[in-house]
């Protein structure tokens, strides 16, 4: 059968009982929500805390507490309008402007509420320099309980002892040494705070006037114990995840909920105003044997409310074991809200004398350095130590305007201006567990005072035989729901990681605000913003970029160096080679001219050559023959030798020759040819031959001449009427010629004659004397059937062969030896120079390869 263990006495009870049969404590919370019940019942050690709906517990609060907290707000849950989406201050303004809107537990109004109270508290702190952990003493001196007065008197002696013990490493306080340096000035105030205070001196004056006398007295005692505490604090080792900038949270230094404290301050709640149960409980605690400071430190290495909260008024009191349990079990040292500790540290510096020994230990234990390091702090508070955001906030009127009204109203009382203007979604999301945002999940603080707290007293506990030790024995699994709900949902380290990972939503993990989303994350926000400055300065350079860098460096390094320009050698290898080739060819051919013997056999007679010979041989005497001289003077050496035998044969046959040319130099070339190679024939212009001259227009002109020769070329080279001359008698069209001989070095010219003329010859044979280079292109016209070229003499071999056919030696045979020797010399030159160039090419390759390798 399932048991229901009493959350107070820890004894098992039947599951169906609502009240503990031993201590009469309520076993089941007064919550109708099955989910809540389930959550509560399912609690076990190590299980993750879950938000609890404790709104129904609100009514169990004492009247004074309800009055202080106000009734649960019936307002609509805070919703962020689009216009205000990025302005949390505006949201705050709206919330505060609702006037009588009482913050409902677990809602944004509640968040706002504690913020307001923080400001109220800080304004008083600034104004009155009140020890932060003596909020409970803001009641008048007369109202102080005796034990507290006695304790205050003992404080100076307690300091050294506590310091020594702290230095012995009793606990690891999560605040680093930066907690004393960072934003706090020597007076222990944050720099930005101090600046704000200075600027608002009038407001401070007003606050001072409101200060109670005892606070003013304490202020006079403040400046003394700082050096010792500071030195020892600096020697400590760190562990704070948030550093010195831990915000001032909803808890004051003695562990009170701020709303509770604030109500006490504002409404003048004195000891006498405390509920009876609380007064009695404190009285019992005073009677109980107080724990020494050593014990306190040993037992409570860290409290979320500060050691003083445990040591001063309540540490001895076993009646608040739930708080102690919470400190020991749920709130580790790392879970201590940094802002709270930072505030403690700052105020410890300010008021050393007022700090009891335990408080001094707290200060010392706060000397753990910030995990964000000094770099972050330096960046955050460079120069005068004022954060940039504070300066900007001061300087820019826009930000002033953006402040909510309530904040402006609070400023005269020393209100701390919230720095996290960038935290836009502070109230964006509802309390944890109220993800729907519908407010169905009530604030855990609505039931933060359980029924047993209101009903039970120490006396009752004594009656039940439950001492403080017995209460401590309550297992974690028996934590009541409201306490479990107060457990931090996340550890600060987790929170920090999330923040660093860029998560926007900040959820408070400790204290009464545990689980609340989007409260001001103080340092976390700043650190988050400053985290970007922590980027590594190591450049990410790729290999190609390294290459460019080295190249640029080389360029810069070599920029000033003068590099000798290699002077080209006057006689390069290639120039020498060219000269050698020229000398070999010229000398060999020149020497060959002097040799008249028949060292080289004449070429065999080819068919195309014999075809030309046969065509000429078939001509009758005085047959009109059209001869085209279409070669350039430069090629006259070869072409004259090729054509000499053919023209000689024509003249031997007594043919009338008509010369034309499609080259401007052709007519002169004809005259030169006749005067040099055929001079012995004594052909006379206009009698045996006619030089019609140059046919302009290329192929078109040639075609025109073919179509109408008399119209196109009416005059001879000398201006006489050509067609009246003997050679052209009876010639009307080109087909009237008995033979057409084309002498050309250009295959395209030969092709032009074939394409433009051959189709108009009507059986008149077309023969050609072409250079060796034109032979391959003309040969197809000879080899095709029907033949477009009746025959051809190609190259010097062809000319020599033709001369052999006619039996009349001429230029070709005279050139034959030189031609062959020249070819042999050319072969030798090609071979030698080819080998030289191959070797040179390989040498260059090897050289370049070696240079690349070097």
């Amino acid at each position: 059968m399932a048991e229901n263990r009493c959350p107070m006495c820890g004894k098992p009870n039947p599951a169906d009982r609502e009240m503990c049969q031993f201590c009469e404590a309520r076993l089941k919370p007064l919550i109708d929500s099955p989910a809540a019940e389930e959550d509560t019942s399912s609690l076990s050690p190590g299980s993750a805390p879950s938000p609890q709906d404790t709104g129904e517990l609100e009514r169990t609060l004492p009247a004074w507490l309800q009055d202080a907290r106000g009734t649960p707000s019936q307002e609509e849950p805070f919703t962020e309008s689009p216009e205000e989406g990025g302005d949390w201050l505006a949201n705050l303004r709206d919330s505060s402007s609702s006037g009588d809107a009482v913050p409902s537990p677990g809602t944004e109004e509640d968040d706002q509420d504690w913020l307001q109270r923080i400001r109220a508290l800080d304004s008083e702190e600034k104004a009155a320099e009140k020890p932060p952990f003596e909020e409970k003493e803001d009641v008048s001196e007369a109202d102080l309980p005796d034990w507290l007065s006695a304790l205050r008197e003992e404080e100076p002696e307690a300091v050294p002892l506590a310091t020594e013990e702290v230095l012995a490493g009793k606990s690891a306080f999560p605040f680093g040494e930066d907690a004393l340096e960072g934003p706090f000035d020597k007076g222990g105030k944050p720099d930005w705070f101090e600046e704000e205070s200075e600027k608002e001196a009038i407001e401070e004056d007003v606050s001072e006037a409101d200060l109670p006398d005892w606070i003013l007295e304490m202020r006079a005692e403040e400046p003394e114990a700082v050096p010792l505490a500071t030195e020892e604090v600096l020697a400590r080792e760190p562990a704070s995840p948030f550093g010195e900038d831990a915000p001032e949270g909803p808890f004051d230094e003695d562990g009170k909920l701020d709303w509770f404290k604030e109500e006490s301050e504002e409404e003048g709640v004195s000891e006498t105003d405390l509920p009876d149960w609380l007064s009695e409980m404190e009285a019992e605690k005073l009677k109980a044997e107080p724990l020494g400071e050593e014990d306190v430190l040993a037992r409570k290495p860290a409290s979320p409310f500060g050691e003083d909260a445990l040591e001063k008024p309540l540490d001895e009191g076993e009646a608040l074991d739930w708080l102690e349990e919470e400190s020991e079990e749920d709130v580790s040292e790392a879970d201590v809200p940094d802002w709270l500790l930072a505030m403690d540290a700052a105020k410890l510096e300010e008021e050393p004398e007022a700090v009891p020994g335990a408080e001094e230990e707290v200060l010392i234990e706060k000397t753990v350095s910030s995990p964000f390091g000094e770099d972050v702090e330096d960046e955050l508070f460079a120069g005068d130590g004022i954060p940039d955001w504070i300066e900007e906030g001061d300087e820019e009127e826009e930000l002033e305007e953006e402040r909510p009204d309530w904040l402006l109203e609070e400023e005269p009382s020393g209100e701390i201006e919230l720095p996290f203007e960038e935290t836009k979604s502070v109230f964006e999301k509802p309390f944890v567990g109220d993800e729907d945002g519908d407010g169905s999940s009530e604030d855990i603080f609505a039931g933060d005072l359980p029924l047993w707290l209101t009903d039970a007293s120490d006396e009752e506990l004594a009656e039940e035989g439950l001492s403080g030790e017995a209460l401590e024995e309550i297992t974690p699994g028996d934590l009541p729901g409201w306490v479990e709900a107060m457990r931090p949902v996340k550890t600060p380290s987790q929170e920090a990681r999330e923040l660093f990972d860029g998560e926007e939503e900040y959820v408070e993990n400790a204290g009464p605000l545990a689980g609340m989303a989007n409260i001001l994350p103080t340092e976390a926000g700043i650190i988050k913003a400053q985290k970007a400055a922590k980027h590594s300065f190591k450049l990410m350079v790729t290999e190609s970029q390294r290459g460019y860098i080295s190249l640029l460096e080389d360029l810069i390094a070599n920029e000033g160096k003068s590099e000798a320009i290699p002077t080209p050698s006057l006689i390069s290898t290639q120039r020498v080679l060219r000269w050698i080739i020229a000398l070999v060819l010229f000398l060999s051919v020149g020497m060959a001219f002097s040799y008249t013997g028949e060292a080289f056999s004449y070429p065999l007679h080819r068919g195309e050559t014999r075809a030309v010979n046969e065509s000429i041989q078939a001509l009758s005497e005085a047959s009109p023959v059209l001869v085209a001289f279409d070669y350039e003077p430069a090629l006259s050496g070869e072409m004259n030798a090729i054509a000499a035998g053919v023209v000689d044969h024509l003249m031997l046959r007594g043919a009338y020759l008509t010369f034309v040319s499609t080259s401007p130099t052709g007519p002169v070339l004809v005259e030169n040819f006749l005067s040099t190679t055929q001079a012995d024939h004594n052909y006379v212009h206009s009698q045996q031959y006619v030089n019609l001259g140059y046919i302009p227009g290329g192929a078109a002109g040639l075609l025109s001449f073919v179509i109408a020769p008399q119209n196109i070329m009416p005059l001879a080279f000398d201006g006489a009427d050509a067609w009246e001359m003997q050679p052209l008698q009876g010639i009307i069209s080109i087909s009237d010629f008995s033979l057409v001989l084309v002498i050309t070095d250009d295959p395209d010219t030969a092709r032009m004659w074939v394409e433009q003329v051959q189709s108009h010859l009507a059986g008149t044979p077309l023969v050609m004397a072409v250079s060796a280079q034109a032979e391959p292109l003309v040969r197809p016209y000879y080899e095709v059937t029907p033949q477009q070229v009746a025959g051809m003499v190609a190259g010097l071999p062809g000319g020599t062969s033709y001369e052999q056919l006619t039996g009349r030696g001429n230029l070709a045979q005279g050139y034959w030896n030189a031609f062959n020797i020249g070819i042999m010399a050319t072969i030798a030159v090609l071979l030698i120079s080819g080998i030289v160039n191959v070797i040179a090419s390989q040498v260059n390759k090897n050289r370049s390869h070696n240079e690349e390798g070097a």
Binding site: E632, A634, P664, G697, A700, G701, M752, Q773
Partner: protein, 261 residues
Amino acid sequence: MTITGVIGLLIVASFFGLMIIFNIVRNNSTEVNLRTIPAYTKLKRAIGLAVEDGKQIHVSLGRGGVTSPQSASAFVGLSMLERVIRIASAGDLPPVATTGNAALSILAQDTIRGTSGEIDLKKTKVSSAGGGLVGLTPFSYAVGTMSAIRSDTVSANILAGWYGNEIIWLTTAGERQSSFTMAGTAHLPAQAVMYSSVEEPLIGEELFAGGAYLDAGSMHEASLNAQDVFRWVLVGGILIGILLKLAGFGQLIQNLLVGTP
């Protein structure tokens, strides 16, 4: 009309139609699918370098006449000259043109003036662009052109036109100047000479593709496509002719070509 004439007419007409069709297709498509000819790729780079260096580009149009089959290569040279003027218009110095034919020189000067007018080139640039006749014979033209190639202000040479063997002087002159030289001609012996003497020769019909590779217009690309089509037609015709001749229809083919029954 002979069968040869009919075939010729069909070839010309179909060529014309294909060019029109391919031009329409080209205009409707942004994709340009031309095989890579290294000479034109390097030419574009050489033009860019010349413009950057403030140097001139020399365009030699050869000595081919405009009224002969040689004119085709000369007209290609003129198209290149036009494109080079446009591309290099941002340079300090205009391209310089040389010709070896009188009629071609007139066309070259006309091209320079017309193109320069379209792109609002300064008159000083136009007047120094040349385009004049440098020689009437092949060797005189070659010698006159060599002086232009050896000019210190010339960094690239485009030899596009009709040349004989004398082109070797032009190519070797460019090589000695360490300037980029691209050469192309329709003269087959000159192509053999070019192959051994120039870094970037244009062999065969590559010269006629110059306009398309220099973005002279979509019609140039369309004409290339038409040439490709007819190249395959010719290959097929040659193969069919060989088969018919092997089959004993050689005489019939000859009669058809000559036009006799």
